[in-house]
Symmetry: C2
Subunit: 150 residues, 2 copies
């Protein structure tokens, strides 16, 4: 059955970030739709981001493209070039290895809902723009930028 | 600027199918959002499918995953297992090489709007389930299943 039963896709709340960086995303809820459908080339997540929460720490990927499509609510996209408001029906793309760190912040009074799509590469490294943190996607560990562990 | 200006993304109407197979998709309109955002690992298309139209000929991919998310309207998903109605907020995934041909038909009175995501592989071959047609994605030609051209 190709249709995905959303009610049976597990919800994962918060992030795996080290404690000092986790609070900003503590109420974020992710459902891994692509995984639920048996896809391996890319991930598709349905995200719910309550007021005050961030989509992630501001970051960029070395070897993975990303795309977001806002389904409901309003978010502020933060990147090197400044801030941009995204509303339902807006979308944004982040090409791999751009070096342009990005994330989204919910400064509204309502939960925002969006889809995020990302490719899968064993070579990918995530680099955070504003904090001393990076992560090799292959093992999901969070490291200082000198390679030492948190 | 990561935000994509939808008003400036070209609209492509219809399909490149041979004439005898094009009518079913003649009013389909596609905007290539991922391409507009400079992404190469996967494509993301915003699709508008008026009443009576099909998303495509029923098909499956040898080397590419696919995902669809219905934003508005109602579509009937047709696959080997039968028919399933999709409404706004529903989604479906089609893992590569499943052999399970699929497409969506708009039997409602309103235009349906959906996102489709697909990976990019130079090895991909599209096989149609109900007609004598295939296509190597690398060159986009439409062929009979014996390899001869239309």
């Amino acid at each position: 059955m190709p249709k995905i039963d959303l009610a049976n896709v597990p919800e994962r709340k918060g992030s795996g970030y080290p404690a000092e960086f986790a609070a900003a995303c503590a109420e974020r809820v992710r459902q891994r739709l692509g995984d639920a459908g048996g896809l391996t080339d890319f991930g598709v997540n349905l995200m719910r981001l309550p007021p005050g929460n961030w989509s992630s720490q501001r970051h960029w990927h070395s070897h993975e493209d990303e795309f977001v499509y806002l389904l409901a609510g309003e978010l502020v996209l933060v990147e090197d070039g400044g801030e941009t408001v995204l509303r339902a029906g807006d979308c944004a793309a982040f090409a791999k290895n751009s070096g342009n760190g990005h994330h989204m912040i919910n400064r509204s009074q309502a939960t925002a809902i969006y889809l995020e799509v990302g490719s899968r590469s064993p070579d990918d490294v995530i680099t955070c723009s504003d904090i001393d943190m990076m992560s090799p996607s292959s093992d999901g560990r969070f490291l200082h930028k000198d390679g030492t562990s948190y």
